[in-house]
Amino acid sequence: MSMFVRRLLLLLPWRRRAAERDMQDELRSIAGMAAPGELGNLTLAAEDARAQWGWIRLEQTVQDVRYAIRTLAKAPAFTLAAVLSLAIGIGANTALFTLIDTVMWKLLPVADAEHLLTLEQQTPLGNSTGFTYQQYEIFRDSGAGLDLAASGYARVDVNIDGRDEPTLDAHLVTGRYFPVLGLHPAAGRLLDETDDRVVMGHPFAVLGYTYWQRRFAGDRAVVGRMMTIAGQPFTIVGVAPAEFFGTEVGVSPGVYLPVKMQPALIPSNGTLLENPIVYSTWLRLIGRLQPGATVPQAQTRLNALAGTAAEWRMRNKFSGQFEDARLVVHSAAAGLSDLRRQFSGPLFVLLGVSGLVLLIACANVGHLLLARAATRRSEFGLRLALGATRARVMRQVLVEGLVLACAGAAAGAILAYWAAPALVAYASAGQRSIVLNLSPDLRVLGFATAVAIAAGLLFASAPALRAAHADRSTAGRLHLGGGGRSHGDRGPGRTLVVIQVALSAVLLVAAGQFVRSLQNLYRHESSIDLDRVIVVGLEPRGSGRRSNANAAMLDRTYRDLLARVASLPGVRSASLGRSSPLGPITLGFPIVRPAGGDPVRVSGSIVYPHYFETIGIPIVKGRDFTEDDLRAGAPRAVLVNEAFVREILGGREPLGTGHGATSNNGRGWRGPQNTMAPAEPVNIVGVVKDSRFPGLRESPPPMVYQTFLQANTGFGQMVLHVRVSADASGIVPAITDLARAIDREVPMADVHTLTDEVNVALARERLVAALAGIFGLVALALISVGLYGLMAFTVSRRTGEIGIRVALGATRSSVRWLVGRQALGIVGAGLAIGIPAAWIAGRLTARQLASLLYDVTSTDPAAMAVSAVVLVAVAACASLLPAQRAVRIDPAVALRNE
């Protein structure tokens, strides 16, 4: 038993009492043996002996904490202001840190996560893609030192016991998926190599844990039951472990299915597993390194394989896009994530901004504590006079600071607990919901604690130093007007407010840039009524396998639907496009320029008549497609955009039959072609305006628009666009019903407006701008409190002086100016530091911010000017009341007090 434990036991009251009794007995017995007076003061000896059991340090600290709580409780307004400031600062930081922790660092709950890695292909343009099944096979069999697994995503219809259920997110996994991750089932078994042999031969399903809990209430008897998935009967064979949310951060699959079942689950032009013509890169690869192998080694080996394997390129069958693709290998310890790619940068930027908020809050609390310390000088003086050491007084003030910080951190943690999911909801508005495991872990708790302690020490250090230098001679002396009079007293408070202004300037400049760049992104010709355009993705039966045989049938389905939708009351125009204006461009054609030379790749799309009218892009030359162009066997006609005219045609007159019809002599250009159809000249009938939709940062590439039947592609899915005249919501059900009525084999995507799409596309920017804006407002609120406090303090301190001035004939405006001048001086000093600091910070972070800013530089002069004006205005407002009070000072009263 160590001394520590013995002392700990002596903290128990009954043990302490027994020890006390024992000691008294012993001392009595000893006193009985000794001569009177021989042993000296026995009471003192007992006192010193008792101290040996004690926890002097701890007891003193407990005393300090108690005392701090008592004094803070006696100043509720001060305490509330301080705790609130800190709660906002610490809460914001903790919420962001929780998100960063979840998205970036939480390890996959799998065995040996640090040996997992993920592969992706990076095109020269910087896009990264997944892999085709054929590529996966090559890498799997390459012997590159990797145990490789793949997974693909599908959204599937579910039917249990004859009843339709909500659609589910499904992961299509290869046999090695669960073994590579080293997972153990929560019930039944997981999928393995035996479920990865025959195409369409393994109708087995593993349920995701949360789905199992939600739908089946965790019933283990579910193993062996049947469920119908995408029209196919599947047997449930097991349940994935509880802590496993899938390998993709932010997505929680409801069900895991064998990849060999793909033809039933992801309709396509044949099967993605066997048809070498299909080039959909639908798989994510995840692998486990062999012991001793490193990530760079694996990357080099795989790249060598990818670069030299002629077979890889041949089976890839999409020359032009992947020829120059590079294989990149990452650690997959924390899972695969689009979310991480999309949000890691913004989250760190926001953590920086919220760090500024916390600093401002600390300065505010420090300032409040200083003001209190000034009024408590006599108390500190008294304590020093009574024999407290300076260290003890300092410690007490620091403890007070830490108590405040802890209260702030506790409130902040509650705020963060509530705010982190709210942030996720805001960021995922309009998207497939993002599922994150936001439960705070040790990292988050450690972060919050560290932040609280650092904040407490930071803001309490100045007051603590001052308290320690309180003068013994001031003991008990009363200070009217709350504080000392020496000039130096103004120093720390003023400095803190100047620092606050400087920090706010940096923060406001940053916030201004984010808000302005969001505004720039939203600026678009038709953006005023984007919410009047309803968008519905359509995948009629057979559209995933479009061929010459079923194209006419699909076209008929589409035109039929268009006619019905157009006849609905309230519909201004309706059309179909291959994708929405914000959707990915999925078609491309090699095209020979008029000047000749090698073919270049031009992006393309398929549209029906009135498409441009519906989404709000004007046709600047020529005409739209008409019903005539839709006929089978109509002359080949295309529309192009201005970028096409500029870049491909070199500015030549685009319209008419001049280029197209007579192009075979080599002077004109040859239109859309691919391996299936010979090159054939086409006729440009119209030119549409280049349109940068909000959220699309790049100016649009040259585009060719074709009609459905004339386009040669394996994709038959289209997106319905409907422009409605009035408020969109009333008509949505009717449109949804019509769209649902078409014969389809996959679940229908949700119905939304173009505004929703813009919001999704701008999720990052909106999140950053909204949070930075909120932080900016919080900073302004904090700073007005700080400035107001300082000005009020100054006015009360200078009451006598102002009284004399008034007595000597100072006018009201000159008194007002006296106060205003000081406030402006502080803001001026703050700006003199803050604006250059913002400029330097902007320069230093220019590269990191580039992807978040649009049409704004990170050292935007307008944002700086606006921040300066706003801060000056805040200073003016904050000094208004104190100035008013100064004006009302009665010289007679003021001088009498003096």
Binding site: M1, S29, I30, G40, L44, D48, A49, A51
Partner: protein
């Protein structure tokens, strides 16, 4: 003369080396053993006993003496014995070092 800081512990442990004693006996033997050259106030000794007990170097027990008097008797624990040996060699080293400085000529 008051003993040096830390020496008191060593002296108490040494006193108990010959057998268990109660508090007053320890005080007396310390005074007698040093021919009153070192005065150890009971006010210093008693807290030291409590400290050594907490550290686990001595242990105490109530016993009834031959005069039918109850007294709390302290004895050395094995840990205390180890500690005493260590302190003793450290003390010897210290004394030698001081002696070398004080009487350099004798070297």
């Amino acid at each position: 003369m008051e003993p040096l800081y830390g020496v008191l512990d060593m002296l108490v442990l040494r006193t108990l080396l010959f057998g268990p004693q109660h508090g007053y006996a320890i005080a007396k033997s310390l005074r007698d053993g040093s021919d009153a050259a070192i005065t150890i106030e009971f006010g210093s000794l008693y807290p030291a006993l409590k400290r050594l007990e907490l550290k686990g170097w001595i242990a105490s027990k109530w016993e009834t003496s031959e005069h039918n008097r109850r007294a709390k008797v302290y004895r050395l624990t094995p840990d205390g014995r180890k500690k005493l040996n260590q302190e003793r060699s450290e003390w010897a080293g210290f004394v030698q070092a001081v002696a070398r400085i004080m009487n350099p000529a004798e070297e």
